[in-house]
């Protein structure tokens, strides 16, 4: 399957990936509305980690042996049969946070603004490539086989 590859040597820490991810996962999918007019506030599913000059974007790795799948109580966390992506069915999720407890990358977050559900990268379902990849100004995030 195609994966999001993170190249930390080129991450400039601008966090545009977070911004575009948030917009992509908003109701309107329009940046100004998403930021200024949506409640509950949409959440980004990618997070830039930074320590001094080192930084990188981090989002779900869609692991082959994904511990979140095993830990999920509700069956919300599942693997998409077509794309191989690990997805959280937000209608099923009850917010027990088992996934957060076991994800070694720390990339699942509580979305507490709206329904309490686990929020994670969905590879921008339906898009040709994830918006973090599309909008990274320095190609520090790329989408590869």
């Amino acid at each position: 399957m195609k994966k999001i590859v993170i190249r930390e040597e080129y991450c400039i820490g601008c966090r545009l990936c977070e911004i575009h991810c948030l917009v992509q996962h908003s109701k309107s999918k329009e940046i100004i509305k998403a930021y200024k007019g949506e409640y509950p506030k949409p959440m980004s599913r990618v997070r830039v980690e930074q320590l001094h000059h080192l930084s990188f974007a981090m989002q779900c790795r869609h692991c082959e042996d994904a511990p979140c799948l095993e830990a999920c109580l509700s069956g919300a966390m599942h693997r998409d049969k077509k794309t191989g992506a690990v997805l959280c069915d937000e209608d099923k999720c009850v917010g027990c946070w088992m996934c957060i407890m076991v994800c070694p990358f720390g990339v699942i977050e509580r979305n507490t603004e709206g329904k309490k559900i686990a929020s994670k990268c969905d590879l921008c379902t339906g898009q040709e490539k994830p918006v973090c990849v599309k909008n990274c100004p320095n190609e520090a995030i790329v989408y590869e086989e």
Binding site: C72, D91, V94, C96, M101
Partner: protein
């Protein structure tokens, strides 16, 4: 008539389901039979408190698709109980007298709630809380009797999740806990205190160092429960009583089988019991504990899933080993998320060090337990961000010397970890380090 199958699985919860999926990964053909004393399709037991509290409907109890059995070609025998196994004949006898033959047997019968013997325990309105049936019974009783006051015995996770559900139904709850605080088994004092005070804020009474010695029921009618009498003779009105003081492995039926049991079924690293071709996984077995390496019953969902998967793989000819059972729990109580992993009680071992952030006013408590520069446990309350990274560090036994000062900082993340470890972690995960 003996009904033979290649794989026979007793139980229908997560270990059994993981076992089926694991077998099918390598063996698409071999016949699988699954027996369960419950009549339900694959439902998630931990969800019963959400169901009771009305947070989810019955349709959301199922964590696998409706066609799970057919898709995996499983002959599911639901509503029948295994009563005996004969390892020599390689058969299992069910409660209707029928006999099932097997080549490989998996026991994943889970746990049975412990109910202490005391006067009045047989009264109407006394329930345990581990199954869907329990939930239905409780719900029916509450509606029928317009219950407004409840007592929950046991301030552990099940007791508190039951409490939360009852509170959601607008029922006043008193929790009785034998220990000096709630959540004594999973949490330390500070964490317990935060949750305890939150419970009290929503009108729930918590009585510690105490328990029920006697149950008084109405003398007339259906002899419904009326009140409970505590150790100190104090009486508390109770229209329903939930007993949630724990579970023990459901292994009674194995007594005559010759299988080696301790508290639970003793298994080796491959999840095989003392009997050849008989495997066990989940709450009924006693697998190796991760940190100590000693056998221990740890009844938690993710371990059951992993054990079931490994057992299934090995039943189908694999040689996968179980790395050990690391205690871990994630529960949201009164809107406060909590996660505890590994060793959290630091009172018994002097060599343990603790790094913590404690802000009770913000309902935040984060503690990391360290032994020999390695993390062995965490307790996170209120803020559980990136807890899994710590779980990973425990599992991988990473030396934290180089990032110790950073360990509970807000921005602690993968970036804080040594490059070598990051490399190991992400190899194949699509990251260039």
């Amino acid at each position: 008539m003996k009904n033979n199958s290649k794989y026979l699985i007793i139980g229908n919860s997560v270990a059994a389901v993981a076992c089926v999926e694991s077998i099918r990964r390598t063996d698409a053909e071999g016949s699988i039979t699954l027996v369960s004393d419950e009549t339900y399709h694959t439902y998630s037991r931990p969800l019963i408190s959400y169901l009771l509290g009305g947070k989810i409907g019955p349709e959301r109890m199922f964590y696998r698709d409706n066609n799970f059995y057919t898709e995996n070609n499983v002959n599911a025998i639901l509503g029948k109980k295994a009563v005996k196994i004969d390892a020599d004949k390689k058969t299992v006898v069910l409660n209707d007298g029928s006999e099932l033959g097997y080549e490989k047997l998996m026991i994943s019968t889970g746990g049975t709630p412990i109910v202490p013997d005391m006067p009045g325990v047989k009264s109407s309105g006394v329930f345990t809380f581990t199954t869907w049936d329990d939930t239905n019974n409780i719900k029916e009783y509450i509606e029928k009797n317009k219950v407004k006051k409840a007592v929950v015995i046991g301030g552990g996770l099940i007791g508190l999740k039951a409490t939360e559900a009852l509170l959601a139904l607008d029922i006043k709850v008193t929790i009785l806990e034998l220990a000096d605080r709630i959540l004594a088994a999973t949490f330390d004092k500070k964490a317990s205190a935060i949750i305890g005070s939150e419970l009290e804020k929503v009108g729930c009474a918590v009585i510690t160092n105490n328990t029920v010695t006697k149950i008084n029921a109405a003398k007339t009618g259906a002899k419904n429960i009326k009140e409970v009498v505590l150790k100190n003779k104090k009486k508390i009105p109770a229209e329903i009583l939930i007993v949630a003081i724990g579970v023990r492995p459901n292994i009674e039926f194995l007594k005559s089988s010759g299988i080696k049991t301790n508290r639970g079924i003793v298994v080796d690293d491959k999840m095989q019991s003392s009997l050849k071709d008989v495997y066990a996984a989940g709450d009924c077995c006693e697998a190796k504990e991760f940190l100590s390496g000693l056998p221990q019953v740890i009844a938690i969902w993710p371990s059951a899933a992993r054990q079931g998967r490994i057992a299934g793989n090995n039943m189908a000819g694999g040689t996968e080993k179980y790395t050990g059972n690391l205690a871990k729990n994630s529960v949201e109580l009164c809107g406060v998320p909590t996660i505890s992993v590994g060793l959290t009680d630091t009172t018994k071992e002097k060599a343990l060090e603790v790094i913590e952030v404690y802000e009770p006013e913000n309902l935040i408590y984060r503690k990391v337990v360290i032994r020999n520069n390695k993390i062995v446990g965490i307790v996170f309350v209120g803020n559980i961000t990136r807890a899994g990274i710590y779980t990973g560090l425990i599992k991988d036994g990473v030396d934290i010397s180089s990032f110790r000062s950073h360990i509970l900082k807000e921005d602690f993340g993968l970036i804080s970890l040594p490059k070598e470890y990051r490399k190991h972690l992400v190899s194949g995960a699509g990251i260039e380090v």
